[in-house]
């Protein structure tokens, strides 16, 4: 069983569209994250979500919104897509209570905006 799974793996869409990426973890972790990896491979945290507390990186445009129906899922919804949103988006999870900070990553979702 895949620990952290994301769908879709590839997503190609037009500017201005709205799209979602889904993430599920079966590790029983308390915290989930979304990271963006740009074309230079730089990984930047977008959101962390723990016990219904959302921590937002202030540099993330409000067109991006995480949605968590339950502890095992954290979906990423993007409105009005722009060319600069093209990137690989990684979902991750961690077991907060052990305070080790170790993250388990999904395989990524490559978003291409045309």
């Amino acid at each position: 069983d895949t620990a952290v799974s994301q769908t879709p793996k590839y997503l190609v869409t037009q500017m201005g569209n709205d799209k979602s990426i889904k993430c599920e973890q079966n590790l029983g972790h308390d915290t989930m994250y979304w990271y963006k990896q740009d074309s230079k491979k730089f990984l930047k945290i977008m959101f962390s979500y723990n016990n219904k507390e959302l921590i937002i990186n202030e540099t993330v445009p409000n067109r991006f919104s995480p949605k968590s129906p339950d502890k095992a899922h954290l979906n990423l919804h993007i409105n009005s897509l722009e060319l600069g949103d093209s990137a690989v988006y990684f979902c991750a999870s961690s077991l907060s209570v052990d305070n080790t900070g170790e993250l388990f990553f999904g395989e990524g979702s490559r978003l291409t905006v045309l």
């Binding site: 952290v4 308390d30 915290t31 994250y33 990271y35 230079k40 491979k41 730089f42 990984l43 930047k44 945290i45 962390s48 723990n50 016990n51 507390e53 921590i55 990684f90 991750a92 961690s94 077991l95 907060s96 209570v97 305070n99 080790t100 900070g101 170790e102 993250l103 388990f104 990553f105 999904g106 395989e107 990524g108």
Partner: protein, 117 residues
């Protein structure tokens, strides 16, 4: 705020040679440090981690790293690289929000490892 610096963007090593990837961190408290590897088109896999105790930590695939507080470094090493080690390597430091839960990792910009035959 915490930060991680990986000074080498690219490193080229001959197969069978030794490897050292550099990582420097900035963090006010005792850091929790990680090395992740990303193979082309893949997600990130944890190689090893340091929380406390022995400053030399062993990881998977024959990698090790040494924590040096005086130098704020956590360099990754491998005595003999294999062609399959070609990948992107990321050093990271953990942080926590005020409630005590994990607040994610801050990553360095990565080092691209190229293996020459």
């Amino acid at each position: 705020a915490q930060s991680v610096t990986q000074p080498d963007i690219h490193i080229t090593v001959s197969e069978g040679a030794s490897l050292e990837l550099r990582c420097n961190y900035s963090y006010g408290a005792t850091p929790y440090l990680f090395w992740y590897v990303q193979s082309p088109g893949q997600g990130l896999q944890l190689l090893l981690k340091y929380f406390s105790g022995d400053t030399l930590v062993q990881g998977i695939k024959g990698f090790e790293a040494e924590f040096k507080r005086s130098q704020s470094s956590f360099n990754l090493r491998k005595p003999s690289v294999h062609w399959s080690d070609a990948a992107e390597y990321f050093c990271a430091v953990a942080s926590w929000y005020s409630g005590g839960g994990a607040d994610g990792l801050t990553f360095g910009k990565g080092t691209h490892l190229i293996i020459q035959p």
